[in-house]
Every structure is written in C-alpha cells, then in structure tokens.
Symmetry: D2
Subunit: 337 residues, 4 copies
C-alpha cells in the first residue's frame, strides 16, 4: 500500500499515521519527495480495507499495490488453465462453441436443436432449466424435467452439457445432469452460490455481471478457486452503459485484458450482449478475432415460438454460417476449431 501525505503535514501527524500503520501490521517505509511525503506500507493483507488509512488525518491518497485476487491472477499461475470436460478442452488452442436454446421447452425442441448444434460442429450444448427472469410473470423454466431432457439430447449427439444454477440447494441436482455449471450475470456476486460451486467437482462458467469491472469478475472467480474448485471459465456477456441501440455494451476488450491478468479461459456470449439476432454473427467474429477461447450462442429451431429470448437466437442455417466464418478467423490467429 502506498500512502501519499498532504502537503506541509506536521511531523506529529506523520508519526501518528506511521504508528497506526504499524498497528495494522505493516512495516513502513518513508520517501520524501519534492512536494510531498509518500509512505510505503509493506506487508501482504489482501483483505485490508484501504479506506481505514484514507480517513486518517493528514492522508491525501492511498493506493493498494497488490491485486485483491491471488489464485485467479496470472502472477500466481503463469500457464493458461486448460479444463478437460470429457475430452473437450476449454482454454487450450482449440476454440469451443457452446450453443443451444435459451430455455429447454420440450423434448422435440431440445432434441432437434441438439442435432443442429452437433451437426454444425459445436461440442457443448447449452439450455436453461431454471431461468432468471426479470418479470415474475415470465416462463421460469422446466426445472429437473428440463435437465433430464437436456442430458438425453446431449448424450444422443455426443455433446457436453452446460446449464445454469440459481440456488445453492439445487447444486447436487445440477451436478447429476450437467458437465459445466453456469453462474449467471445476476448471480456473479451471489457469494453463497459461489462458495457452493467452489465445493463442486464440476467446472464452473462464471458470467460477468452488468456492473462488474474485470477486477470484480476476477474477485468472484477467486471465491470459487479459494473454495477448492480450480476449474473456472470466465464469460464476457456485455456491461450496462448509456447506449440504447444495443441491449448491453459487449466489452470485447475484456478478452485480451483478462488473458493478461489471469490464467483462466474466457468465453464470449454475443447473444446476450447484443440482444438482437442480426448483430450476433459480426460480434461472434469479433470476439474470436480478439482472442476468446470460445463463444456461447443461442440457437433455436423456431425462434418466433421460443418461450425465452427467441429474438436473439440464431436460426439453424445462420448458426452453420457462423461456425464456418469463425473457423476461418480462428485459423488467421493460429487457433483451431
């Protein structure tokens, strides 16, 4: 921690601040600058609230110099984390595609879509059984029945399964049916949920919250890692800004930023970021071009009848075209699909 003192501060106040820092278990280093005195407080206390120093009399600014996350950081682990899910490796050289409907609606729907997904070459099937909906009057998902259908449809097409967990008490139910547990954007800071999946032996995909800085996303990943689960996949899906022509602002630059700060794989979800079908293809291409380790795409055989998020779902032939295009872009940057 670095503490910048106010200009013309008295010796007495400096002494009081130094004493306080020592009480907080820091060893203190004093540098006298041209205009200001700077204190270096040495010692590793990742959870120390720096505002405790900010409020001291005579302190002008305080900077934390260590990242607040540790296990999630690139400085803790240099090599990329590769997560092997029944032979599908997320975080390696190959780009992985997660595709499927927003919500599982019935047997025909999920079986048809699973085949479309597999035929186009994707390896991971998505589908929600428990749906976080902003309106209490909207379709809330099929629950366990949905998970069963999802598993069967995936198995028949040799796909890996991802689905969202919304409550701590459903974690064992999800573990039974899915290969990757998804934590949605609205639950990114639902800490009891993070702790529960941190104890699971299933990989977890953690979506960035609408108001979350990349630092916050990595702090939430830290919760899962610190609870014992090393297999965390991050997912960029758009942040909330003042722009109104798109649903959210898809922060593609978070992809190279995360690759620099962390060893964890990062997936991009253009469907949720943009919210309208005709922008999904260019944004998927952009995410791959920026270095994403994979993408998550909503696909529906009859989007106009979908119970949830139909308007942002791709039609089967649009999805096949997307797969073709991103494969070519992957090759440009030396990756496979």
């Amino acid at each position: 921690m670095v503490i910048v003192l106010e200009k013309n501060i008295s010796e007495e106040k400096i002494e009081t601040i130094i004493k306080k820092l020592e009480e907080f278990k820091f060893s203190v280093h004093k540098s006298t600058g041209v205009e200001q005195i700077v204190l270096g407080a040495i010692g590793v206390h990742p959870t120390f609230d720096i505002r405790k120093v900010k409020v001291l009399d005579g302190v002008s600014e305080v900077y934390r110099i260590t990242e607040p996350y540790k296990l999630a950081s690139r400085s803790f682990k240099k090599e990329n984390t590769e997560i092997n899910i029944n032979g599908v490796i997320v975080g390696g050289n190959e780009i992985e595609v997660m595709a499927g409907p927003c919500a599982i609606e019935n047997e025909d729907q999920i079986f048809e879509i699973a085949k479309i997904v597999a035929d186009a070459g994707a390896k991971i099937l998505r589908g929600g059984a428990f749906k976080p909906r902003t309106s209490p009057y909207s379709f809330q998902g099929l629950g366990e029945e949905g998970l069963k259908l999802l598993r069967k449809a995936a198995d028949e097409n040799n796909l890996v399964v991802i689905s969202e967990l919304m409550e701590t008490k459903q974690v064992h139910l999800l573990e039974e049916y899915v290969d990757i547990i998804q934590i949605g954007a609205r639950n990114m800071q639902n800490f009891p949920l993070l702790k529960v999946v941190g104890k699971s032996n299933k990989p977890v995909m953690l979506k960035r919250g609408l108001a979350a800085r990349v630092e916050d996303l990595l702090m939430s990943a830290e919760y899962i890692l610190a609870s014992g689960n090393p297999n965390v996949i991050l997912c960029e899906r758009g942040i909330r800004t003042f722009e109104t022509y798109t649903r959210n602002t898809f922060d593609i630059s978070a992809i190279p930023v995360i690759h620099k700060r962390s060893h964890l794989p990062i997936i991009a979800d253009p469907s949720h970021a943009i919210g309208i079908r005709d922008k999904v293809l260019p944004m998927a291409r952009a995410a791959i071009a920026a270095g994403a380790d994979g993408i998550m795409i909503e696909v529906h055989n009859h989007p106009e009848q979908a119970l949830s998020d139909g308007p942002q779902s791709l039609l089967p032939d649009q999805f096949a075209e997307l797969m073709k295009q991103i494969k070519l872009i992957a090759e440009v940057i030396g990756r496979k699909m």
Copy 2:
C-alpha cells in the same frame, strides 16, 4: 405496444406483420402518418417480449406502452404504502432512521451502538450477521449468534431490527430475530431469494443494484409483491458510473422519480453510496431534502477497529449531529422526525 413500420413498406409485408400480431393475441389498429405507418397492438400481455416484433421484416421500432410492473406502480395503487413495524411507520409523514454497524462483531459493540442509536432518536437498528463481501478472505459475519445479539440489543433499547438475508435457506432464521428483512444490492435480481421473502410475513427492504435502472428495481419489487408480501421498502444506495472520487454515484433523483412511479416507500443509504465518512452528512441532508422516507446510516463506536466498512461509519457525535440537522430539514418540507 406501438409498432412503427419502415418507410415505403409493401402492403404484403404489412399484412404479414398484422397477422403475426393477431397470432400473439393483440388486436391491431393501423394509423397512416405523413411518412410512416404506425400499428397499435392492443391487449395486455405484461410479459410479452417486444423483441419478437422487432425482428419481423418491415418493422422499424417497437415501444411497449404499459409499464412492465403492475402491483408496484402508482397507477395500480394511488395512496402511499405505509408499513407499520411494531408502531414504527415507514412511508408515512414521519421520516425514519435506520442506524447501526455494518456488521455485528460482539456483544459489547452492538449493545453500545444500539444505545447510541436510540439516544440520538433513531428507531430502527441495523447490523449484518451474514455479510456479502467481495473478497472470500474478508470477515463474513457472526451468523445466528450475531442475530441473537442484535435482537437483544434492540429490545433493550426499544428498537426495531433490520438485517440482511443472503440465502433462501436462512429465511426462517431471520424471521425469528428481525422485524425487517433486507435484500442487498448484489441480490436485487436473485429471484429465488425475492420469491422466498415474498412468502414471508415480515416487511422487506430491497436495495437497488449497482447496474439497476429504477424500472429494474420496481420489477424486483414486483416479484415480492406478486408472491404475496405487500410490505416492500425500496432503498437507493448508489449506482456504478465512471466517477472515481466516490465509491458509487448516489442517485438522489431516484427518490422523487420513485415517488411518482410507485406507492412504495423509499429510503436512502448515503453510507454505501459515498463510502467515506466525511460526505455522509451532506448526502443524508440532501436525501431528506429530496423527499426520502428515511435514511440508513452506518454508525460505529470504534470505526477504526470495525471488521467491515469502518471508514464509512459515523462516530457517535457525528451521528447525533446528523439527526439534529435532518430533523430541521424534515421540518422545512413539512415532515416530522
């Protein structure tokens, strides 16, 4: 719903759009303007996803004309909702103050602070037993032991109790000890949690999320109301913006906006919005001047030793001064304290 069609659209496309709207159970009304044709789709479907119409060929813009929330709206209920909690009425003419430490730390701490709070004239004691912390390494609260101490300290000082619920499974535990259940900002869209408190017979205080529009806050209130609990108190505590000199941006204008849109009471929490003690007093005054039905303030007897949020907690004498000042402001706008 109002649908603006593209300029120079063919008759055939118009027919297709109208047929589609009728399939969605709307009756359709066509107006031919100078430059564009506008369709009115009449019928009340609060959960209809308007993007289903946006993606139709020939459609330029779509506007939902009914608010997506109903029970929470002022048009549903004209009079202010007043919530009587053991004689303390939130949402009436009297302004109520909720005060106490961020987290309950031990018996001495909570008893001393409860006395300070009561002596200064506040009627509601706050204190966290389960703490949502961005770092997994931070103090996470005393749990049930904390709730017991909080209850005892409140009873001894004739105070009403508010504390935060973080998990569905703890709801009965909280109901046993507290008078108002708080839902924190990070859980504003934790829908299972909203449903559970919607079934509770305790009043609920719902904090606005960092990325939540006022509309989203009212939609989350709708979840609780629709589940059967009419006693919802809203709370503004700052939104996330690009400004860095304050922790969050305290959106005080949300107070009159909510009073116009909804009948529910609205409380302001300047401590969390600003994050540093010396701005809490002016922001508390501002919130009351803007018409807030109450404020929530962090108070600590030894903030420099607090296990959580000490730097934003007021000292006892600062709190007493705040009570004095906001009482005078309350009088200016014709309210009591």
Copy 3:
C-alpha cells in the same frame, strides 16, 4: 509516481526501469516488500504520461501520486475563492441563484422573466443568445440581439448577467454584454475556448461535461486558471448513466467532493440534470442541503411556448416557492440567501 514491479522480476530488468525513470528526470527510491518491489519516482512533472512507464517490461502497475491539476486544487489554495461580481459574491456564505429562460426569445419575454426573477429574490439573470442544440433544425438563438435584450432586462431589474459562449470569436461580444461567461457542458473540453476565457477579465462558469469525472472538470478549470483568469465557478449539471427515467443523473455528491478537492465555488443546475419540471424543486433543495454555493434554474413565463427547454422550466409561482424553500434549507446549514 509509484511503480509496482512484477513478482520475481530480474535484477537486470529493475536496473533498466530505474535508468529509464532517471532519463525521465525522476529520482528513484526502491522499497522491497514481502512479495513485490515498489519504486518511488520522485520529481514533479504534472504532465508526464504515466503510460510511458506502464509499457516498460517488468512493470505491473503505476500510480500517479500528485493530482494532475494544481492551481485548481485545495492544496494550492486553502481558502474558498470568493468571486465578487458587481457586489454579488459567489463562493461566500451567501447562496446565489441564477435564473431565467433557456433562450432569450424576444423583448417581452426576457423583461417579464427578469422581473419575476428579481421579485423572487434572485440576483443573477441567465439566458442563452447562442444555443448549442443537438439538432441542426432547432432554434439556435437570437445572437447579439439577444445579448442586448438580456443586458437591458437585467439592468432594469438590477441583476447580474450570465450567458453562454460557444465560439472563440464571440468572446469580445459576450464581454460587452455579460458579467459571467458560461462554458456549456458540451464545450467543457473545447480547449481553445477555455484558453480564450482564460484571457478574459470576466468570471467564467464552467459546466461539467456529460462524461467528465470531477478530475476532468478540475483539469478544464486548470486551463482557465493557467491562462490567467482566477475567477472560475464550477457547475454540476448531471452526468450520463444507464438510467432512463431521468435525462441525466444529477451527481449531487460531486458538491462536497469538489469542496474538499478545490477552492473554487460550485453551483448546481437541477433543470438540465433532470429535464422535467416536477423534479426540479426537490433536486434544488437537495443541492443546497449538500452544500452547493448556488443553483441555476430555468424559469419561463409561458413554458409551453418556449423555443427551447420549456418542459424543464419552472412557472413563476413554482420559482417563488423554490426560493422560499431553499432559503429555509440554507439557514439549517448556516448559510444565508
């Protein structure tokens, strides 16, 4: 400047970084922490681009420790700047109100409104002669003719005049007619304009831009101060966020923040921040309660016929009521009106 080095950095890289810093004319101070080495770069170079150090091999984080503004800072000048404009003092104990129409439209309009403003007790008349309009098809102001009318209406009512400057070449024209030159939010970083008013002998009111941090506002003030004009008044008028129920988000907490960081007076403009008449009164009260040195309010005798911003203009009796209420709030916090 404080430079945090990467963990396990080689001695050679450290040497290279230190050499580089010395080339940049800093003297360097090295602290070895538990996990990381920190360099203090001592020397005052307010315009140094810290990214020059960020890109060096082995550097993890860089923090500037001096504020980038100097003349605008409270550490440069401890006492509040009081600006005397023909006997009206902005920045003193008295709260000043600037009121009038958005745009000057004709003689009758501005004379009637000037009288309303003076009768209600305000001392400064506002009115735009050159209007920044987002649409090229909107009314752009009366130009010099408007300034003449504004001056005459003010003189007849013993008021001080403020009006907006939009182009460097109009500065002498404005100086002829107005007492305070306003720089609008959209021109906050129009640097040639800032330099020109920096050479003027008239006080300048500088409005915060929609995307400006408080730091940016103070940097723009620095431009004016550094050009030789010490009489700068700051103005908070709302920032752009994701909220859609209000036109902008009125950042009232900027008021105490600016009072702490700077010696310059700060005015609040609730009319532009909120954009709709019925929220102006509560927000004006809130701004005064937060410590603003004054407010700017749009008033119109026939708002429904106003050529610009009628919907956010107060009616004469609403304005009189506002003056009464904020006077009472001013007294609560020990200020006069």
Copy 4:
C-alpha cells in the same frame, strides 16, 4: 409521436390534450386499448421537443416515432456512401487504414513514419498539428508548421492526409494541407465547428464522443450533412464506462449498429479506445471482423520519446504484423485491403 394517456383519464382532459396537439400542428388519431388510451400524433416535426407533451396533465408516456436525424439515416439513402479521396475510397469494399503518429513532432519523425505507413500498405497518413490535451501544460502541437511537414511527408509517399481541426478559424488552413478533416471526440458536439466543416468541400471524419450514444453521433453527422457536406466518415473510438483496466470501452457493436441505421462509412480507432499498445492488435482484428470500413492506428518509430500518446502507438514491425493479420480477416468476410 405516440402518447399514452393515464388510466381512467377524464374525457375533458383527453380533449385538452388533443387540442394542444393540434395547436402543435399534429393531426391526432385516438386508439382505445384494454387498459389505456393511446393517441397517435401524425405530422413530421423532427425538432419538436416531446417533453412539451410529457408535461401535459393526463399524459403518462410519450414516444417519438421518427428518428431525429434524416440525412444520415439509412431510410433516407439506401446505398452505402462511398467517399473518393484522390482515388482512395472509404466506404467501399476495400478496407482503408489511417496510420501515423499522434502528433507531428519534427521533420525526421513524420517522414520516417510516413514511409513505414506506406511500406506496410496503408494509404492514409494521420498526424496531429493542433492537439486537444486535457492538461494545459502538455505539448499542444506544432500548428501550421506541422501541417506543412505532414503534407510533404504524405506526398513523398503517395499518401492521403487526415488531421484534426480544433477551431472554426483554422478551417481554411486545414483545407490547404489535408484531404480529410478530423473532428475529435471532445468536439463531437461543438456545433459551430460542425457547421464550418459542413461548408467545407473536404470529407470529414467525425469521432464519437465519450458520452455519446450512436444516436447523438448520427445527430452530429446530420449537422454536417445539413450544412451541405455529404462526405462524412464516422469513427468509433471508445465510450466512457465504469471499467478501469482499459482507458475507454471500445464499443465494437456500434459498427454493425451504424451500418444498419446509416449509409455513412464507419472507421474504428482501437489505439484511443484501449490506450495501451499490447491490446491494439486484437482490437483492430475485432473491429475488422465486426465489419468496420477501416481502422485508424497510431504508429511511432520511437514511441518512448513521443510527445503525445507514445504508450498506445505501435512499433513499425507491430504495425506491419497488424496489416498482415487484418488483411486475412478482411478476406474471411469478403472484403479487400
């Protein structure tokens, strides 16, 4: 314009609102819905301030149904605007690259960089002679001397020239030396400047402001188009959000959004959006993959000595590599370079 009335509104109030709309020169169409009455106000008044209706008694919501811009809209002009600048066509199938230093510093620098730019295959040379700097103490550009050097360096390498205009009075000076006039992000709503370049016969590149919605950008383009200059190039360069690990948030989704809404070409500037060299390459690739008509890149032969924005400038070999990679991506999406 569509006006939703309050529920249970009296016939009398409806009459008053209709009469008012007719006074505003709209013809009115009334639809009676299940719960609410909706009025359609027909007539084209692009500059009508809809808040004039919002404030009427009995009105609940108002929606403008025509876009506020006309000449800039895709509905006004279906085909892409292609701008031919001495044989270099912006907005056609070929992707164009604008590259060069942030600021022109001296003859050697600009000649060396111009050669690097041309050798790598780019056709447009950028370089600032007048620099908008947030600090008054920073290097402000060489002025006319810089423009002369820029022109000579471009001519020697057969390049087209773009440079920024900051003040209306410099427009003729710029016209003498440059082929494309740039309006910077901070001047996007400097309306006198927009009008002046609207009268120029040179193409204009208009950068999106930090707080500008796409709609605002198109409104500013409308100013230039309405003043008579049809050759406007738009430029996305990042918006301001709460994220702190990047300088701005590069809104790549604006690219397909603008292509849908407008016929004008759109260029992406990843250097300014990101602010640090090592993210420029992936973001340039992403912009091209998203469909940008070109990119603007800062290149410097000695970035560590650059007087402005060195840290975000690419080294010559990084730039050559970028050119190679984006050429391949251009081919994937059927475009040339």
